[in-house]
């Protein structure tokens, strides 16, 4: 009862802040560029924290803790992957992407790739691929609804409806200005909560500092020897070295996801990337400690009905009500922060990449530029409503593991976009438009077949196969076709090859 009072109060404060920031954001949002990337005008610490908050969503707090609960210490592979592969992916992509964009001034991943390959088909293809994020949004909304269900005792459907409406209205009003600032605050709160949950082992179990980890391992082993296995053959994700490698590979690829990509494009000065990345890595280190809650909970109660309940049951039973309520609010904030970023990615794909840059620029719709920009903002806002409705329907029946649903989305987008991004920025003289187009569509097709028609144990492994197929396609087609004029023409490396162009 005390917990519920604190939680209602905490949510009232959170929504109050969100509404104020949404209002402030709406007063600053005047153009499509403002809506999508806040006019490329934000500082490195704000963006670093926002990047982390978007990278780590309610899926980290709820879904990945559920993985720890279900699969045991093998989920430390995921922990290491989040610490190493994610940041390395960002290091590999960020600088060249941001540099190229100084000249191209794109506002999204579809736009960036469309400009890079000078192709409307690329722009529209990637615009279609980012629609996979509907699953991702669904997973975040579902995590938000679980907070209401587990901590407040609401019906799941009621909680889901409330959070869907709140996020939808918020994104329609404020767009990225609010998105980035609320993300930045949420990033800091999530990092704090990660540390608190991790160190709770010292008072919840009271094993003494030096014996904590030996005892943790021994207790898990007593529950089930598979829970301490390096390769957990009984698990969905860590059953073989290849499956573990796939986790690292996909976290690396995840760094180029469109909602994260937008943050790189939002950076005011490319030289600030270093500060942004250090902020992100530090916060990451703090966040991911939350994964340990799943190990603790498995020892305390090995018989939960659903693995995704682990984090909620843990804080509810083993923390003071005030801390538990605070964690509830942080997870809710995490669901909001990632979801609004994803809404913007999809609505930008429809309004900017397909309407403005394709239908208007190609002359299919004949209106002047100023009016087109205004209409595109209306389209962005209307599409936000549809996104909310579809995502709501997707998770009306909650999935068995939230973390898996997230990876359905990431895999689909990665299959279409990783190859054109990475080969484009590293081999600008080699890639061709035909290579990019075939790779995008074959990647999408292969992923759809692998994910929806075949039965893979690991969602991450199926995504890895799709990325390998699309990357091979990109290499083979680029090798046998001649580079078209206009492809990669804004690339720094390529420009450097032209004698004294400026």
């Amino acid at each position: 009862m005390v917990l519920q009072t604190y939680l209602y109060a905490g949510m009232a404060v959170l929504f109050g802040i969100v509404i104020i920031l949404g209002y402030l954001g709406s007063t600053k949002t005047n153009s499509m560029e403002d809506f999508a990337i806040a006019g490329a005008n934000l500082g490195p610490y704000v963006l670093g924290s926002a990047f982390a908050a978007t990278f780590f969503s309610a899926a980290t707090f709820v879904g990945y803790v559920g993985w720890s609960y279900q699969m045991g210490l093998a989920n430390i592979w995921k922990w290491l992957s989040l610490l190493a592969a994610g940041p390395i992916g960002l290091l590999v992509f960020a600088k060249r992407v941001r540099k190229a964009n100084v000249h191209m001034r794109s506002v999204s991943l579809p736009d960036w790739l469309g400009a890079y390959y000078d192709s409307q088909i690329v722009r529209v293809g990637v615009g279609i691929a980012v629609l996979f994020n509907l699953f991702y949004i669904g997973a975040q909304l579902s995590a938000g609804a679980l907070i209401f269900e587990e901590l407040l005792g609401w019906e799941y459907e009621v909680g889901l409806a409330v959070i869907t409406v709140v996020v939808t209205l918020y994104v329609m009003a404020g767009a990225t200005y609010a998105d980035v600032y609320t993300d930045a605050i949420q990033g800091a709160l999530m990092a704090l909560m990660g540390v608190v949950v991790f160190i709770s082992v010292f008072w919840v179990f009271d094993w003494g500092a030096l014996q904590t980890f030996p005892r943790l391992s021994a207790e898990l082993e007593a529950v089930d020897p598979n829970l301490v296995a390096v390769i957990n053959t009984e698990s969905l994700l860590y059953y073989s070295p290849f499956a573990i490698g796939a986790i690292f590979f996909m976290d690396f690829a995840f760094a180029a996801q469109p909602q994260l990509f937008n943050k790189i494009l939002s950076l005011k000065d490319p030289a600030d990337l270093r500060k942004m990345i250090i902020t992100y890595v530090f916060l990451t280190l703090c966040f991911i400690l939350v994964l340990f809650a799943g190990f603790y909970m498995r020892i305390l109660d090995p018989s939960l009905a659903a693995a995704d309940q682990a984090i909620f049951v843990y804080v509810e039973q083993y923390f003071p009500p005030l801390v538990a309520a605070f964690l509830g609010v942080v997870v809710l904030a995490a669901a909001l922060s990632t979801t609004d970023g994803l809404y913007i990615v999809i609505s930008t794909a429809i309004a900017n990449d397909i309407f403005l840059k394709f239908l208007v620029e190609e002359g299919y719709i004949n209106i002047e530029n100023e009016r087109a920009d205004r209409i595109s903002r209306y389209i962005a806002q209307v599409s936000v409503m549809f996104i909310g409705a579809i995502a709501y329907i997707i998770v009306l029946n909650p999935p068995a593991l939230l973390g898996e649903l997230v990876w359905v989305a990431i895999g689909g987008i990665a299959a279409a976009t990783i190859a054109p991004v990475i080969f484009g920025i590293y081999f600008p003289n080699f890639v061709t438009r035909k290579g990019a187009i075939t790779s995008i569509f074959i990647g999408l097709g292969a992923y759809t077949v692998l994910a929806f028609l075949m039965d893979f144990q690991s969602v991450v492994v199926q995504s890895t196969y799709a990325v390998i197929i699309s990357s091979s396609t990109m290499v083979v087609v680029s090798a046998v076709t001649r580079q078209e004029p206009g492809v990669a023409s804004n690339h720094e490396t390529k420009r450097a090859g032209v004698p004294s162009d400026d």
Partner: protein
């Protein structure tokens, strides 16, 4: 045997951070940004 994953965790964390900061130092030192800054200045 039960502790293997914990050792992997501790060693892996140190190695991961070392690699990330090393790459950051190599690829993201200030003098690597002249081109990008010039681009901003032009606009």
């Amino acid at each position: 045997m039960a502790m293997t994953m914990i050792y992997i965790w501790l060693i892996g964390a140190v190695v991961s951070l070392a690699v990330v900061f090393l790459l950051l130092r190599i690829w993201y030192s200030d003098d690597n940004f002249e081109g990008a800054n010039r681009g901003v200045a032009e606009e």
